[in-house]
Each structure stands twice: as structure tokens, then as C-alpha cells.
Chain length 109, copies 2
DNA sequence: TTGACACATTCCCATATAGGAATATATTGG
DNA sequence: CCAATATATTCCTATATGGGAATGTGTCAA
């Protein structure tokens, strides 16, 4: 059995670094394909293909404006990723608190 | 060019659902390979292979205890994932606040 | 209608999978 | 040393991929 498809879920879609680059770039503001091409210095077909993957898993939305296609991040689609990582984030926060605790007790000697 | 290797970074390593299952299972407590096999109902070689990937990217640590190998999560290795998703989490938190705001203004009419 | 621009799709290919099955390695107790 | 247990590795194969190159589709302006 090969690896799960890039379009099987958000986890697989964002495994590709260039797709993360794209998401980060359009996070603040919707962008046309060519703006992405110029900003990230990628080939246009490559950008279009990555956007297609991102769209299939719901990570981006599109609207047409004249000849341009304006892509924007669907932030909610990233939520499952954030929630999964958050369970671990709580753990290292605890670890850091314990370290801090020990340091304070030591300085009180 | 094929996809980036599963061992190229944490993002690629956790794209596989079974590896996320493993990480979640050993999150609370270190576990032997067979405990993982039993809990997740996977084949032992499969678990060993997944653990190897997780170890290569630093997501787990191991120690030997007699015949057993005890694996535990290296929570800090998940931090880059959490940080990347957090930039988007801030965005939907803002969105939710705006929705809440509008709702409150409406009820004050 | 035609040309130009913006974007999407198709074809090609080398490559890294994940699972299954079989086998290898390491550790312990007797 | 031997048998049993615990884990790791190897071999196999179908399959999805990302980039490059070329081409297709859609929209506007004149």
C-alpha cells in the first residue's frame, strides 16, 4: 500500500513545504495565482496544481475576478491540525512550568 | 520529483494516520512495542517501521528495558507544527470574536 | 473576431512509500 | 548453550506524487 493521497486530508496536504508556503503567503490577504507565482518564485503550473490540492481538502477557497482567480485561506480547515498538536502543546507547557517551579524553589533556599 | 520523504520532517511524518495514532497512544505514558501493537491492533512489523520513521524525525525517544523497547513522545518535536498552525488559529479566533461582537450589538438594540 | 493575458490541465517519469510475509537480531531464564 | 520472547529488518509490489514541458480553456479589450 502506498502513502495516503495528498488530498486525503489536511495533514497530507500540508506535508508539502511549498503548499505551506502558499498558505502562509495568502493568509493575510487573498491573492491571485500570479501574485503567488511571483512572490514564491515558482512555476505557474506548479502553483495551480498545489492550489488544486489545497482546494480539494478545503484549505483554500477561490473566487473569480475578471481573468484572475483569487485564492484565500479557509482558516477553519486548519483547525483539526491545531487541535491535534495542542494536546501535545499542553504537555510541554507543563514541562516548562515544572522547570520554572524547581528553579524558584531553588532560589528560595 | 516525487513527494518529500516521510522522514524529511515532522510534517511529513505525521501525515500518516497510524503514526498519529501511535503518538497519541504513547503521549500519556511510555509504551512497549507490543503494547502499541495490542492497543492499536496493528501488525508488529508495521508498528516497528512507523516507530522508526518517528524516531528519525525526533518525534519519539526510546530506551531499552530488558527485552522491551519503551517508546515515548518527544513533545518538543511537535512544537514546529503547533507554531505553524497557531498563526492560523489566531485568525479564526478573531473571526469568532467579530461574530460574537456583532451578536452582542444586535441584542443591545 | 482576434490577440493577449491569466490560469488550468495533460503527459511523462523517477521515486518513496505502506503493508504483507518471511526472516534476522537481541535479551532473558533455565 | 537452548528455547522463548520482543523487536527489527528485508524483500516484494502497486501506487501516488511533483516537477518540467507543452497545451488547453476562459476572459477581456479593441
Amino acid at each position: 500500500m502506498p502513502r495516503a493521497t495528498t488530498t486525503s486530508d489536511a495533514f497530507n496536504a500540508i506535508a508539502e513545504p511549498r503548499r505551506r508556503d502558499i498558505l502562509s503567503f495568502i493568509a493575510l490577504q487573498e491573492r491571485s495565482v500570479n501574485e503567488i507565482v511571483d512572490a514564491l518564485e515558482m512555476e505557474q503550473p506548479s502553483v495551480s496544481k498545489h492550489l488544486k490540492v489545497l482546494k480539494e481538502v478545503g484549505l483554500v477557497d477561490v473566487r473569480r475576478e475578471g481573468r484572475q482567480m483569487l485564492y484565500r485561506v479557509n482558516v477553519m480547515a486548519i483547525r483539526p491540525l491545531w487541535e491535534w498538536t495542542s494536546t501535545f502543546e499542553r504537555m510541554w507547557r507543563h514541562q516548562l512550568l515544572k522547570v520554572k517551579d524547581r528553579a524558584e524553589k531553588k532560589s528560595n533556599l
